[in-house]
Point group: C2
Chain length 253, copies 2
DNA sequence: GGATTCGTCTCATAGCGTGGGATCATAGTG
DNA sequence: CACTATGATCCCACGCTATGAGACGAATCC
């Protein structure tokens, strides 16, 4: 540890013990688990006793342990999207500073995209705000999230419709949208050139979960009216780098 | 606390702090949260610092906190069914002793029922064992779990088929099964009279999650060849009582 | 600019968790 | 059935470590 950061050693050890017990699917003895993480039997025993008393663990018949009610309650408060959002915050701030445009992060809830992070210069000029929900089919982030949806869900989404035109360029034909989503998956990124608002264009890439799913996506947006147009695709490596960094910090244990 | 049980006070307090921070959706200050659970600011600050360093929490811009990667990893190991199983173990042992027959608990995974607990006298005479997966449409537990499935999933299950006859009494007609499931929901319990094996009958009731869903079901089984047949429905209150007790211990935080 | 309020850091104190070891409780084994 | 091995649980003196009041800087409000 860095000596400059005072932390509670005992807490870390207890949490490691919690992890070790839940990770153990083979029914090892408490003593064995304790030994595996280098803890005296007596200490481990007391920690587990406490966790059971606090209802974070439950005793199973046969001397084993399982998750307790309070852990379940915790589970209901947390979802992967929140973790990604937390991990993404600082990465996206840095990215926004580097490219000098608006950076956003969004997730899919049902048919709608939820915008969870918005940062960068000119952010107030854009109509979105964090917490806003928007249709998925017409934004870069939305198309990325749809593209990596499981086959069955993507099909259901396309079948549900209707897709209302917000500008002349909005894709409203389900068949065409299906083709576009296939392209997005093949290329690894999505674009939006005036499909929501006429003078807005953006570039979006997925954030991959290790299991291959895409729980979130990030995008760079620019109002086309304003000044120079830096080659959009030249920004792709930066955006992808950020996505990878976010995934790494969010999913590395 | 009961004085007879030695527990680590500090661990409990730190975990309470973790919960409090995650439960706070209003963006209160750390000081405010600490005060709410009666902890000095300095102590709370050190605990949170530790939890961040251990990656159970993550710093959000604006001085707030969100769940961290290790918490996500922890919670991925937990699902509601495990918690229910843990909570049910002792309750079902007691019930088995009281009624003197076989008690089981099962959950639905895809189309199959997984038997997770089996206890009581004569348990070895029955072919099931914990961990066994069985088709859902022909057992009492299975019918309960199907009956409370969300509309769409229940319909999908009924449409998928086929339903093979294991005995002369097995329900193989999807339309009839649909009617039976409606009855089960209306009555609040399911029976199986020789639909899997000729001489086996059972009575099953749901365990309700507070949100109304049914993540698990419990049943009493009896081999009909053997002796007297205590009025099956007279056991219903006992079974329901056990189900309610399990739900209470598993979902009360 | 004065007054809050919050986050962060320091440090002396004592309270508490620590862990070696003893004691039960359960299996396996000859 | 005694014998042994393994694990769970309990005990307790010791010393370390978490504690929390207080100080300080920073940000925000009036």
């Amino acid at each position: 540890m860095t000596p400059g950061t005072p932390t509670i050693a005992a807490l870390g050890r207890s949490l490691a013990m919690l992890e070790a017990i839940l990770a153990d699917r083979d029914g090892r003895s408490l003593t064995a688990i304790a030994q595996a993480i280098g803890l005296p039997r007596a200490t481990a025993h007391r920690q587990v006793t406490t966790l059971v008393a606090e209802r974070f663990l439950a005793r199973l018949p046969g001397g084993h342990f399982g998750p307790g009610p309070r852990l379940l309650a915790l589970l209901q408060m947390v979802d992967a999207k929140q973790v990604i959002t937390a991990a993404a915050a600082k990465v996206l701030h840095r990215l926004a500073g580097k490219v000098g445009s608006i950076v956003q992060l969004g997730t899919l809830e049902g048919d709608m995209v939820t915008y969870r992070i918005k940062t960068g210069r000119g952010a107030k000029a854009l109509f979105t705000r964090t917490g806003l929900q928007l249709e998925a089919y017409c934004s870069g982030i939305g198309k990325v999230l749809l593209a990596w949806l499981p086959e069955a869900e993507r099909r259901a989404y396309l079948a549900a419709g209707p897709f209302v035109a917000l500008t002349a360029r909005t894709i409203t034909d389900p068949a065409l949208l299906a083709v576009v989503l296939d392209q997005v998956r093949a290329r690894g990124y999505a674009t939006d050139e005036g499909e929501i608002v006429d003078d807005l264009e953006c570039l979006a890439v997925p954030i991959f979960h290790p299991d291959g799913s895409v729980p979130a996506a990030i995008s760079l947006s620019r109002l086309t009216g304003r000044g120079k147009t830096p080659a959009a695709e030249s920004l792709l490596p930066l955006l992808r780098g950020a996505a990878q960094e976010i995934a790494a910090t969010a999913f590395t244990f």
